[in-house]
């Protein structure tokens, strides 16, 4: 039984690795474009960070937060976003995949639908985010325990994927929700890069419960700054609960899925 489960996991990871290889090969084929995209996304993040540096030069402490706090949040979110984009970028396109009947392809193959769907897409921009995140965390995260940073990057990836799946799965329930899904994806990123302490009580409540994006970067920063085991367990717990809800929402919605007769080329 255990051997079977291990075999299935190995099998799925092998498929994921193959997808990654194929996707990277496809992008590397267009070398100039590949390098430019990675460099420009890196630059894009650097410009953002420079802005916040000067923001904090003008206002050194904002509700107890300093520039390095902002940089740490940004570093963790960029790493989580980068990894999520490399291993499971399809979470962002889930609503479109459902709406256009593109789920058929995944349903006909002998692999876990959600896993296969998630891992078959790759965003090349994510490599720029990943490199940026690594550099920022090396510069600003030196004083924090490495294992804790790695743990929070992993919980960040789980949360981004979980929220992405829930947001994308709305398409099963209300039909054409691509725009709504896109807006919620953008909101996830926009809200996760700010410290929770700048928000009012009602906004905090939302960001810690029904739209728990504060657990991607902001709450991990609080735990890094003043370690507590409860804090670590809370972040892991929230990440796993969000993922469990995502899986339930997806598979419950899948029962309502209706294929279309649209013929498309899968690339």
């Amino acid at each position: 039984m255990v051997d079977d489960s291990m075999g299935i996991i190995k099998d799925h990871l092998a498929v994921s690795a193959e997808y990654l290889k194929i996707n990277v090969k496809t992008f590397v084929e267009y070398r100039i474009s590949f390098v430019l995209q990675v460099v420009f996304i890196f630059l894009n993040n650097v410009i953002w960070l420079i802005f916040w540096f000067f923001f904090f030069v003008n206002f050194p402490v904002v509700n107890g937060y300093v520039f390095t706090d902002m940089a740490m949040i940004y570093g963790i979110v960029a790493m989580a976003y980068g990894l999520s984009g490399i291993f499971s970028n399809n979470r962002k396109d889930l609503a479109e995949i459902i709406n256009k009947g593109k789920l058929d392809y995944y349903l006909t193959l002998p692999k876990n639908v959600l896993f296969h769907l998630g891992t078959s897409g790759l965003s090349i921009f994510s490599i720029g985010d990943l490199i940026f995140g690594i550099i920022v965390l090396i510069i600003f995260g030196g004083s924090y325990p490495l294992w804790l940073i790695i743990l929070f990057i992993i919980t960040g990836v789980i949360l981004l994927n979980g929220i992405g799946i829930i947001v994308g799965s709305i398409a099963f329930y209300i039909g054409n929700s691509e725009r709504l899904s896109h807006t919620l994806h953008l909101s996830t990123i926009a809200l996760s890069i700010y410290p929770i302490g700048i928000f009012g009580d009602y906004a905090k409540l939302i960001l810690l419960t029904i739209f728990p994006v504060a657990f991607i970067g902001s709450i991990p920063l609080e735990v890094l700054k003043s370690f507590s085991l409860e804090g670590v367990l809370l972040i892991i717990g929230v990440a796993l609960v969000v993922l469990a809800i995502a899986v339930i929402v997806f598979y419950y919605g899948l029962r309502r899925y209706e294929s279309g007769n649209l013929i498309y080329v899968r690339n």
Binding site: I32, F40, I41, N44, I47, W48, V62, L180, T183, I198
Partner: protein
């Protein structure tokens, strides 16, 4: 002469009306912008603390400044990616035998839908600002001048986007350029904060770059109008407009020749 340009007016007008068909798209992105304004209200409220003025603006003025800059920068959509895709795929060749100039056609098409988006994004963000920080004083006499500065800013946004989009013919990728272009508008264009947030050297350079004419200057006129500033914005904006449109026209002509060599 009038007939020669009337077609572009009609293209803009048709695209303005077409935008009603995509109203939910625009409302969806407007809600996102409203969310950003909500974040900024939280952030700037803390920054102001007990302070009356920051960079010469009160808290409501700062928030309305941001409402205006967000609407300016986000209402045009992803023009570089759109033009870049047409240039890269060779689709641009389909426009060459039409009785219009490709760049002016794209401008007319874009400005029609941009004006529609601007109104909607501004209106939805304004509701958030109105509810959370209240109104600011606007003199009705200044509104026509603000409209001129706004149209000039949106035109310059297009001109820079068209130039960078056509560059995709050589650079291969336009989406990444779009990211960096938007970040420059966010920062040295003054979308995220007035340019005084930068050290004096960067501020002075930014004041003379076209990015600030898209966000900083029109928004500053909106919250703190002065005729001196308006005249400076128009003079400076028209010069940048001529430079950018000429550069784009030259680049397009050069590219068109290459395009015919490539066989479209």
């Amino acid at each position: 002469m009038i007939n020669k340009y009337a077609k572009y007016f009609w293209i803009a007008e048709i695209n303005f009306r077409n935008s009603f068909a995509y109203i939910f798209d625009v409302i969806s992105s407007s809600i996102f912008i409203a969310l950003i304004i909500f974040i900024f209200i939280n952030l700037w409220s803390i920054v102001y603390g007990g302070r009356e003025l920051v960079f010469g603006l009160t808290l409501p003025m700062m928030i309305w400044y941001l409402v205006f800059t967000e609407a300016m920068v986000t209402s045009s959509g992803k023009l570089i990616t759109e033009i870049g895709a047409e240039v890269k795929s060779g689709e641009v060749a389909n426009y060459l035998n039409k009785p219009y100039n490709y760049v002016v056609y794209k401008y007319a098409k874009s400005i029609g839908s941009t004006i529609f988006s601007f109104i909607l994004i501004f209106a939805i963000s304004a509701i958030v600002a109105l509810l959370l920080v209240g109104p600011i004083e606007i003199n009705l006499i200044h509104i026509p001048f603000m409209i001129i500065a706004t149209l000039l800013g949106l035109t310059l946004y297009f001109a820079m986007s068209a130039f960078l989009g056509i560059l995709a013919f050589w650079i291969e990728d336009s989406q990444a350029i779009e990211f960096v272009y938007s970040k420059l508008l966010f920062t040295i264009g003054g979308m995220l904060a007035p340019l005084a947030i930068w050290p004096p050297v960067i501020e002075q350079i930014s004041l003379f770059l076209p990015f600030s004419l898209v966000a900083f200057y029109p928004a500053k006129l909106f919250v703190k109008f002065s005729f001196d500033s308006f005249i400076w914005v128009i003079g400076f904006g028209v010069i940048w407009g001529i430079v950018l449109f000429l550069a784009t026209a030259l680049l397009f002509r050069f590219m068109s020749k290459k395009l015919s060599i490539n066989g479209g």
